[in-house]
């Protein structure tokens, strides 16, 4: 899935007085992304291709158009990104990394394609699970992104996300991972990339998500974190990622999903946020941008739509706040 931005800009067309979600436009926008290979940006964003596919596919499912991308071609592409060590690269010829491996597992889960994956790759799930498990630091419990060892709570969350979807959590030391997440809690109630690093809503999502999967939300100072998260809402209804920063549609997801996991989503003004997200659409060519007037892209498109789903916008599929995937899919994989 291409990450080429544009061509449209958000909120510059004739937005009708009564705001609405332009479902069909967004579907066509996502479908069009892979037809733009005559643009240099398409190739410069190759190192995100597998993430992009997950973003596009998830948006389509939430929009109620799960079959809008060719299923077999997705599986072919996905398998062409797989390395012998069980990890996935962003695109063929790119090194294996946790982030793409998680995207690959999420795509397989969403397409209900684990069976076909096993047919193509013998013991496929076990191999992928082993790649992920081998990235855990046995001393600290945290995870690296690849064999070179950069550590970040994103990777830890990604590991628990993918392993739980495959039913393979027992391959790693969950208790140690939980300990590490707990050590990243800050004085303001939030979480950063590593112990002591500044609180950031994106990182809060990964830490709260990891603790939720591990069943250890009891470790979170829920009141303080909930208050900090609700402080992210600005007067125009949008949410920011850190104090004194600008609003951005993708935080509709990071902030709201965390609040949903803590059962505190009602602490922010959902109506105002809905309006803000809808203003970030391109009403003519589809897609959402970070804020009104900017270029649209698939990243902000999925997180805007997932945010609207959390806000119970009519007609959208229910999203799972822990996984950023359709709730029907996680129910199927997790059996709950």
């Amino acid at each position: 899935m291409s990450l080429v931005s544009g061509p449209g800009r958000a909120g510059v067309g004739n937005m009708p007085a009564e705001m609405q979600l332009f479902v069909d436009k967004h579907v066509r926008y996502i479908q069009s992304l892979d037809t733009r290979k005559d643009e240099l940006e398409y190739w410069l964003t190759e190192h995100l291709r597998l993430n992009g596919l997950y973003w596009g596919l998830t948006a389509l499912h939430l929009l109620g158009h799960p079959d809008a991308l060719p299923r077999n071609e997705i599986l072919d592409f996905l398998c062409s990104c797989l390395h012998d060590n069980g990890g996935f690269g962003a695109a063929p010829g790119h090194d294996a990394h946790m982030l793409y491996t998680v995207s690959a597992v999420q795509i397989l889960a969403t397409l209900d394609a684990f069976g076909e994956f096993e047919e193509r790759v013998k013991d496929g799930r076990q191999k992928v699970g082993k790649f992920i498990a081998d990235l855990q630091d046995s001393e600290t419990g945290t995870f690296a992104g690849d064999e070179w060892g950069e550590r970040d709570t994103r990777f830890l969350y990604g590991a628990l996300n993918a392993l739980s979807l495959m039913g393979l959590l027992d391959l790693v030391d969950v208790a140690k991972a939980v300990q590490h997440v707990h050590s990243c809690a800050n004085f303001d109630g939030g979480y950063g990339t590593s112990p002591g690093a500044e609180s950031h809503s994106g990182q809060v999502f990964t830490c709260v998500g990891a603790l939720t999967i591990a069943g250890r939300l009891d470790l979170v100072d829920q009141e303080r974190l909930g208050a900090w998260l609700s402080e992210r809402q600005l007067k125009n209804g949008g949410l920011n990622g850190r104090p004194e920063k600008q609003e951005d549609v993708c935080y509709s997801w990071w902030v709201m999903s965390s609040m949903a996991m803590l059962g505190k989503l009602h602490w922010i003004d959902g109506e105002k946020l809905t309006q803000f997200i809808l203003q970030c659409q391109d009403p003519e060519l589809g897609g959402l941008a970070d804020r009104p007037g900017d270029m649209v892209d698939v990243f902000h498109t999925v997180f805007g739509i997932a945010g609207l789903s959390l806000l119970k916008y009519p007609g959208l599929e229910e999203v799972d706040p822990i996984y950023c995937m359709p709730r029907s899919v996680t129910r199927r994989c997790l059996g709950k």
Binding site: S5, W43, G93, G192, E198, A227, R242
Partner: protein, 351 residues
């Protein structure tokens, strides 16, 4: 020196703001300044370069989805990548490979595999690490939000074993973007790796960053890390606590509706195990319930609500403060303030 010299690191599913994805998006938004930025030196090609005539570039394998689309690469980038694939396939580590990686990085610094191979090459050739840092400096300044560059730098400085010159470099970077998450994380790493917690200059520098922008939450976070957060749970001394409280009060007086110092103040009190009522009279300067039209800080009201709630027989004041927040001073979070009000009556029932 091992291959540990590098790691790649990447984009993110999760965190657009501090990932290079942002760089790409920004670049695209600016009408794709990429071209103007890098075509200043003319495009560099390898097919007619004597030094490369022994190498046959490897074509892109697009994985079968749309193989013909590979022709869409611009010629220069595409050719350079072809040569990179070829040298990687033959495990060549040489000066010309360093040049090639530099060329590709200048076109697309987010391509993590290129950084990886560059590190391997430096390691294999035993190149002086200081040279690599000097080469990195202008590259980092050009690509502020790139992950790879920071990681590359961290590993090299770690191997060098000295933070000399790094403080100046960090300051230079922050002049361009004072809240850059990578840069602050890197600064924290320097403090920890070279044990700069009690280095007076570090605290003074942090202060100068807060002076420059009292709303810079990253600078406040760094201060907390220096004073408390990085010190493995040791409570601050009485002297340090007093100093921090006074410092923060001054900062709040400059901008009373500023979340960062209020959060910081509460953090300091908690770490020193002091009750919130320690700063009751200070908070009242900004929010006096007797003058509900003249509230200068919702954060002060919030704090006072907590303080009143803990006092005996003062639930009414707490309720009044929360009402002011819900209806006048922070109505967008009315549900949250009303929830807090609900807790008041619950604790009454419990009592």
């Amino acid at each position: 020196m091992s291959l540990q010299l590098i790691r790649s690191f990447i984009a993110n599913i999760f965190l657009s703001p501090f990932a290079f994805l942002r760089i790409i998006l920004l670049r695209l938004r600016k009408g794709f300044t990429y071209t103007s930025e890098y075509t200043m030196p003319p495009p560099k090609f390898y097919h007619d370069d004597e030094a490369w005539k022994d190498v046959e570039p490897l074509p892109q394998d697009d994985g079968g989805m749309h193989p013909l689309a590979a022709i869409a690469y611009t010629e220069e980038y595409s050719e350079a990548m072809g040569y990179l694939r070829a040298v990687m396939a033959s495990n060549e580590f040489s000066e010309r490979v360093l040049g090639l990686t530099e060329h590709i990085i200048s076109m697309n610094p987010a391509h993590y595999t290129v950084w990886l191979y560059r590190a391997k090459t430096i390691s294999e050739l035993g190149k002086p690490l200081q040279d690599e840092i000097e080469w990195l400096n202008p590259t980092a300044l050009k690509h502020l939000k790139n992950y790879q560059i920071w990681h590359h730098r961290q590993t090299i400085i770690d191997a060098l074993g000295s933070p000399e010159g790094e403080a100046e470099f960090v300051s230079q970077m922050l002049e361009k973007d004072e809240k850059n998450y990578h840069v602050w994380s890197y600064r924290q790493w320097l403090v920890k790796r070279f044990d700069l917690f009690d280095n007076l200059e570090e605290l003074q520098w942090t202060e100068s960053m807060i002076d420059a922008d009292v709303r810079n939450n990253s600078a406040w976070n760094h201060r907390y890390y220096l004073v408390i957060g990085g010190r493995e749970g040791h409570a601050p001394s009485e002297e340090v606590t007093k100093r921090e409280i006074e410092y923060t009060k001054e900062a709040i007086r400059k901008a009373s509706q500023n979340q960062s110092p209020w959060n910081y103040l509460k953090g300091i009190l908690r770490a020193a195990q002091l009750p919130k009522s320690t700063i009751k009279s200070f908070a009242t300067e900004f929010a006096d319930l007797e003058a509900p039209d003249d509230v200068y800080s919702s954060h002060a009201l919030d704090l006072l609500a907590d303080i009143y709630a803990e006092e005996e027989n003062n639930k009414e004041s707490a309720e009044k403060a929360l009402d002011l927040l819900a209806t006048r001073y922070d109505p967008i979070r009315a549900n949250y303030w009303n929830y807090r009000k609900g807790l008041l009556s619950q604790s009454e029932v419990a009592a």
